[in-house]
C-alpha cells in the first residue's frame, strides 16, 4: 500500500529525515517510535503533505501514485488520514459542517454522489458511538474550548467518518488520561480491517498495549535504526532509548 524509499526532508536549512525506508501493507499496523526530535512527527507531516517541510530526496508510492506530487487534499481523497498531535481550533466552523464538506468533496473526487442530509446524519450518529462523542460537541466550533481528550476523540471521529485506507496517528496518546486513551484506541481498533493500514507514531509504549502493532520501527536522527515486532516496543519501555542510541553510535 505504502512504500517509502530513502525519504529525506528538511525544514529551512535543518535536515530532519535522513533516508527513511518503510513498506506498509494493507491490514498491517506499524508503530514508529523514537526519542524526542528523532523525526517521528516530521515523517507523519511529510506524508500528510504539510508544506513547511521540503522533501529533499527519496520517493513515496501510495497505491501506485506518487504521493509527494499530490496536494494535501488529494492525499486525503486518495485515502490518507493524519490524526493531528495538536488538532487546530477553528472558531466559527462546526465539526458537522466541516465533516459534511470534507466527506462530500472526497466522494466527489471518487466519483460518488454527495450524501444527502439524512444519510449524512445517520452515518454521523453511527460513527459518534464509536468514539463516544456527543453531538453537542460536534455542533460547536471545531475543537474550540475542547479538552485534550475531546480533541483526540474528535480526530478519531473524523477518521471514522472518512474511512481512510491509511491512517497516521501522530502522538495521539499525548495528553490523554487512561480512560480517554482506551476510548480512542478502541475506536481505532474497530476501524481496522484487512483493507486498511495504520501507522502509529508514539513516544511511549503505553498506547501499543491498546493498539497492538504488527511491526515496530525505531526512528533516530531521521533514520529507522531498528525494526521488529511488538516485543521491541516492550524492550524499549524497559530499557529506554539510550540503549538504541549507543547501539547506533557503536555501529
Amino acid at each position: 500500500m505504502l512504500s517509502i524509499k530513502n525519504l529525506q526532508a528538511k525544514i529551512g536549512e535543518k535536515q530532519i529525515l535522513n533516508g527513511i525506508d518503510l513498506k506498509v501493507n494493507a491490514g498491517e499496523v506499524h508503530a514508529i517510535m523514537g526519542p524526542n526530535g528523532s523525526g517521528k512527527s516530521t515523517l507523519a507531516s511529510v506524508l500528510a503533505g504539510r508544506e513547511e517541510y521540503e522533501v529533499s530526496g527519496g520517493e513515496v508510492d501510495f497505491l501506485g501514485k506518487d504521493l509527494l506530487e499530490l496536494s494535501p487534499e488529494d492525499r486525503a481523497r486518495e485515502g490518507i488520514f493524519m490524526a493531528f498531535q495538536y488538532p487546530v481550533e477553528i472558531p466559527g466552523v462546526s465539526t458537522i459542517n466541516f465533516m459534511k464538506t470534507a466527506l462530500n468533496q472526497i466522494r466527489e473526487y471518487r466519483g460518488q454522489q454527495a450524501l444527502d442530509a439524512v444519510s449524512f446524519l445517520q452515518l454521523m450518529k453511527e460513527k459518534m458511538k464509536l468514539v463516544e462523542i456527543d453531538q453537542s460537541l460536534l455542533n460547536r466550533s471545531l475543537n474550540e474550548g475542547f479538552s485534550g481528550g475531546e480533541k483526540k476523540r474528535n480526530e478519531i471521529f473524523q477518521m471514522a467518518m472518512l474511512e481512510p485506507k491509511l491512517a497516521i496517528l501522530d502522538e495521539t496518546d499525548s495528553g490523554l488520561d487512561i480512560d480517554a486513551l482506551r476510548i480512542v484506541a478502541n475506536g481505532v481498533n474497530k476501524l481496522r480491517n484487512k483493507n486498511n493500514a495504520t501507522i502509529v507514531v508514539t513516544h511511549y509504549q503505553r498506547l501499543l498495549d491498546y493498539i497492538v502493532p504488527d511491526y515496530v520501527h525505531v526512528l533516530y536522527k531521521g533514520k529507522i535504526v531498528k525494526s521488529g515486532t511488538k516485543e521491541l516496543a516492550l524492550e524499549l519501555e524497559a530499557k529506554g532509548y539510550d540503549w538504541i542510541k549507543s547501539e547506533v553510535t557503536v555501529a
Binding site: 494535501p72 493531528f84 472558531p91 473526487y109
Partner: protein
C-alpha cells in the same frame, strides 16, 4: 502639452450653491463652516488615506444639478421577503410612489425632512444639533446643501413592529449624480425601532453621495441600525452619522461594506447618559479597487456605560481598507467599560489595510481595551481543513466566512440576517 490647473473645489461649490426654501438660516451658518474648513486635502490627518477631494476634482462637475430619473420600480434593490416600511429617495429626492409605510401612524412618524422642519416641533428641536459641522467639511457641506431627507419619530414607550428600510438610489444611467441627503431620527423614552439603510446606484456614470444623519436615542430607548453598502456602481460616498444616546438606552449598529469606489463612514457615538449599552459591528469585504474607510468615535461622557466595538475586514484584489477607532472616556465617565477590536485579513499581495486605534481616557476607574491585527489566513487551520480532503479554495472560503460571519451575531431580524449572510457567503465564495 496640456497643463492642468488645480481646481479650488471649495470655492466652486460655494459659488454654485443653489437656493433652498427650507432651513435657510442653518444652511447659511453651515456654508460659513464649510468655507472655513474647506474640503480636506491629502495632508489632512483625518483623510490622509482617503482622497475624496481629489476624487471629486477628477470626476465631477459640482455646479450642475441632477437630471430626473424615471425609475418605476425598486424591486431589484429591496431585501427579499423583508416586511418593512420602505422609504425611497431617488437622486436626492423623496419618491412617494416607490415608498410604502406600513406601520401605524401611532407607532411611528415617517415624513420628508423638509416637511418636518416646517411642521414638526420635535424635528426642529433636534435637527442639526449633533452633526459635526464644525469639524468635518462634508458634514458642513451636507448641512448647507442637503436636498431632501427623512424624518423618523417614534413616540414614548412604543416599539415599532416592522423595520424601517431606507433606500437611497442614484440613477446615473445618463450622467453624473451628486446627492446630498439627510436623516433625522428621534426615539423618545422607551421607544424601539430597527432601521436598515441601503444605497445603490443605477447606470455607469459617476455618483457622489454626501450623506449625513442624526439619531437621538432617549432614555431606555433602543435603536437597531444596519447600513448596507453594496453599490456596484461608480459611487463615492461619505457618511457622517451621529448617534446620541441618553440614560439606559441601547444601541446596536452593523455596517457592511462590500462595494463602491470610495467609501468613507464617519460613525460618531455620543454616550451621554449612564447605564447605556452599545455594540458597534462592522464588516468590510473588499475587492477590485474599492477603498473603504471606517472612522468611528465612541465618546463616553457619563459614568457606568458599556461599549463594545468589533470591526473586521477582508481585503482582496487592489482594495484598501482603513479603520480608525477613537474612544474617549471623559473625566466624569468613571466605571466605563469600553472595548474595541479591529481584525483584518489580507488575501492579495496588492491589497492593503491601515488601522489605528486611538484611546483617550481621562477617568481613572475604567476598563478599556483595544486590539487590532492584520495578517493572512491561519496556515495551520488551512492545512487542517485540506488534510481532510477540502480543496484549498473551499478551505480558504470556509475560514474567511467563519471569520466574517461572527459580526452577524447581534442581528435579530432573521430575514435581514439571512440576507446579509448570503451577501457575505457570496462575496467570500462560500457556495458549498
Amino acid at each position: 502639452m496640456s497643463t492642468s490647473i488645480a481646481r479650488d473645489l471649495t470655492t466652486e461649490i460655494i459659488e454654485a450653491q443653489p437656493t433652498f426654501n427650507v432651513g435657510t438660516e442653518l444652511r447659511n451658518e453651515a456654508w460659513t463652516q464649510f468655507k472655513d474648513l474647506g474640503l480636506p486635502g491629502t495632508k489632512h490627518e483625518e483623510y490622509r488615506f482617503t482622497p475624496v477631494t481629489r476624487h471629486l476634482e477628477k470626476n465631477f462637475n459640482l455646479s450642475k444639478s441632477n437630471s430626473d430619473s424615471n425609475l418605476s420600480s425598486v424591486a431589484d434593490y429591496l431585501i427579499p421577503d423583508l416586511d418593512a416600511n420602505v422609504v425611497v429617495l431617488v437622486n436626492g429626492r423623496f419618491n412617494a410612489l416607490l415608498s410604502k409605510v406600513v406601520s401605524l401612524e401611532s407607532e411611528i412618524t415617517i415624513t420628508t425632512l423638509s416637511e418636518a422642519l416646517l411642521n414638526n416641533t420635535v424635528a426642529r428641536a433636534h435637527f442639526n444639533k449633533y452633526v459635526n459641522n464644525e469639524s468635518d467639511a462634508f458634514a458642513a457641506w451636507n448641512s448647507a446643501a442637503w436636498q431632501e431627507g427623512v424624518f423618523i419619530h417614534v413616540p414614548e414607550n412604543t416599539s415599532v413592529n416592522k423595520p424601517v428600510f431606507i433606500l437611497q438610489l442614484n440613477d446615473a444611467s445618463s450622467e453624473q449624480v451628486v446627492t446630498q441627503t439627510r436623516i433625522l431620527g428621534v426615539l423618545e423614552k422607551g421607544a424601539t425601532v430597527s432601521v436598515i439603510e441601503k444605497s445603490d446606484s443605477i447606470g455607469n456614470e459617476v455618483v457622489f453621495h454626501n450623506f449625513a444623519e442624526e439619531w437621538v436615542v432617549k432614555e431606555e430607548a433602543h435603536l437597531e441600525y444596519c447600513k448596507i453598502q453594496n453599490d456596484a456602481g461608480k459611487i463615492c460616498q461619505v457618511s457622517n452619522s451621529v448617534i446620541h444616546q441618553t440614560t439606559s438606552s441601547k444601541l446596536n449598529t452593523f455596517t457592511l461594506t462590500l462595494n463602491g469606489q470610495l467609501i468613507r463612514n464617519n460613525l460618531h457615538i455620543l454616550i451621554d447618559g449612564e447605564n447605556c449599552e452599545s455594540h458597534f459591528y462592522g464588516l468590510y469585504l473588499l475587492n477590485g479597487n474599492t477603498l473603504a474607510d471606517n472612522h468611528t468615535v465612541v465618546d463616553h461622557k457619563k459614568p457606568n456605560s458599556f461599549s463594545n466595538e468589533m470591526y473586521k475586514g477582508v481585503m482582496d484584489g487592489n482594495s484598501k481598507g482603513v479603520f480608525n477607532g477613537k474612544i474617549f472616556v471623559r473625566p466624569h465617565a468613571q466605571k466605563t467599560n469600553a472595548f474595541q477590536s479591529n481584525r483584518n485579513i489580507i488575501i492579495s499581495d496588492n491589497a492593503t489595510v491601515n488601522t489605528k486605534p486611538q484611546l483617550e481616557i481621562w477617568a481613572d476607574d475604567v476598563k478599556c481595551s483595544h486590539g487590532c491585527t492584520s495578517g493572512q489566513l491561519d496556515e495551520e487551520a488551512l492545512f487542517y481543513l485540506r488534510s481532510r480532503g477540502i480543496s484549498e479554495t473551499n478551505a480558504k472560503a470556509m475560514l474567511l466566512y467563519a471569520f466574517a460571519a461572527e459580526v452577524l451575531q447581534p442581528i435579530q431580524n432573521e430575514t435581514l440576517k439571512s440576507y446579509l449572510d448570503h451577501l457575505i457567503a457570496d462575496r467570500l465564495q462560500k457556495n458549498f
